[in-house]
């Protein structure tokens, strides 16, 4: 039998074997041998405002991806490859959660705007944009970009009562043209309500408010008329408002 070690080092031939056979039992063993790495990385990020259990789950799933994608023929240790994959997924997790920020409203909004601008510019350029390119695109200084991305990284612990929200209810903000940032900001609150929407409506809300597409662009993307998009959006927003009760 295999002797249980405190810090197992997977022999290279196991990886070669796994790539060849994709044996589920071997896969399980490779995963369990590196779960400690995933947990330690999750722990390293745990002071940034997200529950450790969630981070551990994200890190574990990333580890599984790393095991499935690892190519032993490439001259890199699995632990290094897995660390990169896990950190990437943890960063994405924080980004998806809106990286709770304690920053001036202006910086929060800029950070949210950067998400859309960065993605759009990335598509145009075919690569991740630089700070200078983003500053030009958004029309602000490079310093603002650096400040916003620092704030957006969520290094500070989270605050659920986001500052600067003013007296507007979520419904107020959803009903305005400025609903995009508000929606993203309150994504953690909105998640269950969004999940209750029909799949197509959920996609439309995402394309409109997260990705910043116009109704016409969404119509083209999913193959329905702009008017139809408009109706579905309106119905979705009504449903979302309902989920938050009749606040005035």
């Amino acid at each position: 039998m295999v002797e249980v070690q405190r810090r197992p080092v997977t022999p290279p031939e196991d990886w070669v074997e796994f790539v060849r056979t994709r044996d589920p039992a071997l896969r399980d063993r490779l995963i369990s041998e590196h779960l400690g790495l995933a947990r330690r990385l999750a722990h390293r990020f745990a002071h940034r405002g997200q529950p450790y259990d969630d981070l551990a789950q994200v890190a574990s799933i990333a580890l599984i991806k790393a095991v499935d994608r690892f190519d032993p023929a490439r001259n890199v240790a699995f632990s290094t490859f897995a660390t990169g994959t896990i950190i990437g997924e943890l960063k994405r997790h924080f980004r998806d959660r809106g990286w709770s920020v304690r920053a001036p409203r202006r910086i929060q909004e800029l950070y949210l705007e950067l998400g859309t601008a960065s993605e759009a510019l990335g598509h145009r350029l075919g690569r991740s944009p630089t700070v200078a390119e983003l500053a030009k695109e958004v029309g602000c200084s490079e310093e603002d970009i650096l400040e916003a991305t620092e704030a957006g990284q969520g290094y500070r612990s989270a605050s659920l009562d986001a500052p600067g929200a003013g007296n507007l209810t979520l419904a107020d903000r959803l009903s305005s043209d400025d609903a995009g940032p508000a929606l993203v900001e309150d994504r953690s609150v909105l998640k269950p309500a969004l999940a209750a929407l029909p799949e197509r409506s959920r996609l439309i809300v995402k394309l409109r408010f997260e990705d910043g597409l116009t109704q016409s662009e969404i119509a083209t993307r999913i193959g329905i008329s702009q008017m139809h998009v408009s109706r579905l959006l309106a119905a979705s927003l009504t449903q979302l408002r309902g989920a938050f009760g009749p606040e005035e």
Binding site: L37, R40, L41, R44, S79, T80, F81, T83, G84, I87, G88, K91, S118, R127, S128, P129, T130, V131, A132, L134, E142, I145, L146, E147, T149, E150, Q153, Y155
Partner: protein, 127 residues
């Protein structure tokens, strides 16, 4: 085109923001992509924490060197007069994180102090 920026900050977690911001600023001047810049910011914090280790006081010395599209960051800790110089040991997890996010890293000596350094190049796809 090159820059050399020296930064000295007290060993205090709240002041690590200065290290991150400086790293990001230098990376922006090296025309790093946003993704690379975020990685550098993250790894700078990791570098500082690993070098600070158990030191409860003292001064963190950082040198940021930009040479074209390459950024090198050196980090060492000067203990206060009663403190012991921290051992230049980087824990295993820090090493993994650093390895995953930079192109090169190592240890050296700056003056009489042990120093750890990292190097990342623009657009190499590291991390």
């Amino acid at each position: 085109m090159s820059d050399v920026v020296d930064l000295a900050i007290p060993v205090e977690a709240d002041l690590l923001v200065l290290a991150r911001l400086t790293a990001a600023t230098v990376a922006a001047r090296a025309e790093f992509a946003l993704e690379e810049l975020e990685d550098l910011r993250l790894v700078t914090e990791e570098l500082c924490l690993s070098v600070i280790g158990d030191a409860a006081s003292g001064v963190v010395h950082l040198r940021f060197i930009r040479d074209g599209g390459e950024v090198t960051i050196e980090c060492s800790v000067e203990p206060d007069e009663f403190g012991e110089p921290p051992a230049p040991e980087v824990d295993e997890l820090s090493t993994r994180i650093i390895e995953a996010l930079v192109d090169e890293h190592g240890t050296a000596t700056r003056g009489s102090r042990p120093c750890s350094w990292i190097r990342k190049r623009r657009g190499t796809g590291a991390g």
